[in-house]
Assembly symmetry: C2
Homo-oligomer: 428 residues x 2
Amino acid sequence: MTATLKVALLGCGTVGGEVARYLDTHADDLAARIGARVELAGIAVRRADLPRPGVPEHLITTDAHELALRPDVDVVIELIGGVDTAGELIRTAFSHGASVVSANKALIAAQGTSLHEAAAAAGADLYYEAAVAGAIPLLRPLCESLAADRITRVFGVVNGTTNFILDKMEVLGACYQEALKEAIQLGYAEADPTADVEGHDAAAKAAILAGIAFTTRVRIEDVHREGITAITSADITAAKALGYSVKFLAVCDRGADDRSVRVRVHPAMIPAGHPLASVRGANNAVLVEADAAGQLMFYGPGAGGAPTSSAVLGDLVAVGRNKLAGVTGFGSANYAGLVLRPMAEVSTRCYVRLEVTDAPDVLASVATVLARHGVPIETSGRSGCSLALVTHQATDGALAAAVAELRGLDHVHEVASLIRIEGTDPAP
Amino acid sequence: MTATLKVALLGCGTVGGEVARYLDTHADDLAARIGARVELAGIAVRRADLPRPGVPEHLITTDAHELALRPDVDVVIELIGGVDTAGELIRTAFSHGASVVSANKALIAAQGTSLHEAAAAAGADLYYEAAVAGAIPLLRPLCESLAADRITRVFGVVNGTTNFILDKMEVLGACYQEALKEAIQLGYAEADPTADVEGHDAAAKAAILAGIAFTTRVRIEDVHREGITAITSADITAAKALGYSVKFLAVCDRGADDRSVRVRVHPAMIPAGHPLASVRGANNAVLVEADAAGQLMFYGPGAGGAPTSSAVLGDLVAVGRNKLAGVTGFGSANYAGLVLRPMAEVSTRCYVRLEVTDAPDVLASVATVLARHGVPIETSGRSGCSLALVTHQATDGALAAAVAELRGLDHVHEVASLIRIEGTDPAP
């Protein structure tokens, strides 16, 4: 075997380090899979002086641009994160026909369409399996294995940090702050956890998933986003008592009209027996519903250096084979052009907890308001000054209008919780 | 779009009928995915006079050979099943450079290597995602997405019929014959259920999975096979009492020496909290363990016309795209050439139930025999003339020798059950 595939690595943090080491230790396997030996052309880093055990020192450079521009580089692996610089470097790679493997969900969610256009114009590939659900093979099965099926729903836990936090709250009875603190200590959350706990990370992944599943352009701004910071121990306890588990979900579903799609990330109660309820720790799991295939589930580690590197290297094999064969892979397809519909039109059941006065007619006045907005109450329970309701299916718009009016009632001090209930009905 | 992809369909039963209808109803989507319109060139059937709603009658022929041989056919979809005729038809397709999509696990397990050689010689593709785990994207993720990872174990429920039967026995307390009867009535089992309940179907799938996961040639004869016909209600009850669920498993694992592989299908007890324990009805689920990716799970419908057609059509899209680009896909790789090791070397824990006399020293003599063969007892429980044991890890060879000797003991009337315990330890 004389062919060589020259690879440039941009970024050498947790994932990049794993990739660099794996390229060395599994060189023969990779060569057998790709049909060419992989040669690492360079590793761009911000600080050259950090210790990087097992990473070839002579390949380290601080000039990422020059490395991405090298005409002998066949494939650029982008692992530096962030949007603007990473996007420029990827375009630089395409400018001389190099293919790109990336793990950068924020970038793909922000610029996926234009990056795919640049890749197509260059006759190059852009793969990013690692950007969603870490090691779990998900994007390629969605895009390729299910290419002939009509996907109706993609639904799952795609952020390990928030799942770790909610899981700790549920299993150990920890409060949100305690669980977050432990997640940071164990390295499951960043010191600034905003991107995870406010749902930005999940929203980017949801945009990517929906775009692929529905062959429609979905921007991160199209994704309705609520984080988990308002979830309390009382919510977790209430969910348990009702037979539910609180999970932070990404939900992408096709409208019943077959012309629209709704994409959202928010905490939700799901039945304790639901497959997603048993997703523990920092794992991810995604359910895919399709006309012919039925309901499929993909489960596994959602993050971490080694799992992410598995997905990156799997992409490298595919991109490398394509490069040698002179072809490109599936690329991006937006031909369906479904219309993005707002959250107000999404219909769910909902758990609502109100802090109320002890007047005997509180439930009557609350129920009257809800009924006027077309939000029927399924069950209600009162404990002291806390009134908990579960509503029947209603649109988010109707619910929001009803809740706004509830806030104005004399008997209602506070709308303490509002958590949607998912996983109890087929896709709308 | 002027390009056309001509497809011949061999077989028009449950799956074939779904495929033919889908090619018609989803023609535009398929064209967008493939980059060419699919034209059905012909549909070969055994009996032309059966009613086939939604299937274009003028394309029906009883001459499969002539259809597979047509030089204008780009892709042959083989859904007739069986080994010899199907194999000949696929070779006929390759003879003029057509690519092949098949759902035929028995054929691939028996002739996969030589068929892949014929495909490679012809510059054609041979894809068979539907052959294992129905609609679940599994073979391509194993072969492609995880191409760069080192898979250590593939482990799961790959036969829907037997899972349906065991599930009925567990959930409803049915006996084996009742559960089998219901499976036949509901269409989950054939009138002659031998291929499923004796494990031939699962063994073929295990051979295919192991071959792909370990890039090693695995023949169906290499697979240790035990069916589920000996499982009784008493076994299910005993498993429950011990906190286990009885599942029919396919287990493919890499030896600790990294040079060997063991492949087996047999019933096993797994912990009730194990992800595979909650596989209900006729669903399939496969766990994949890899060095970098960690533990992944793939779950979904394992059989049925629509789910299987989803996998067949997904393959058609890939094969069609390759055809248009003038390339072939991953193909088969046997470069690792691991050595197949016999069941006697596999180490598991085991549940053993003996019918014994009421002599007080029965346990002592049984334990002495087991100890002599290096099979330590973990727990034991006696109820009347029934002595139940759970052993520590021991090789199957040692266990078999011990059991043979137990059969000769005066105090032992019968070795009533012998069920391995899985899912409690990391891969050996």
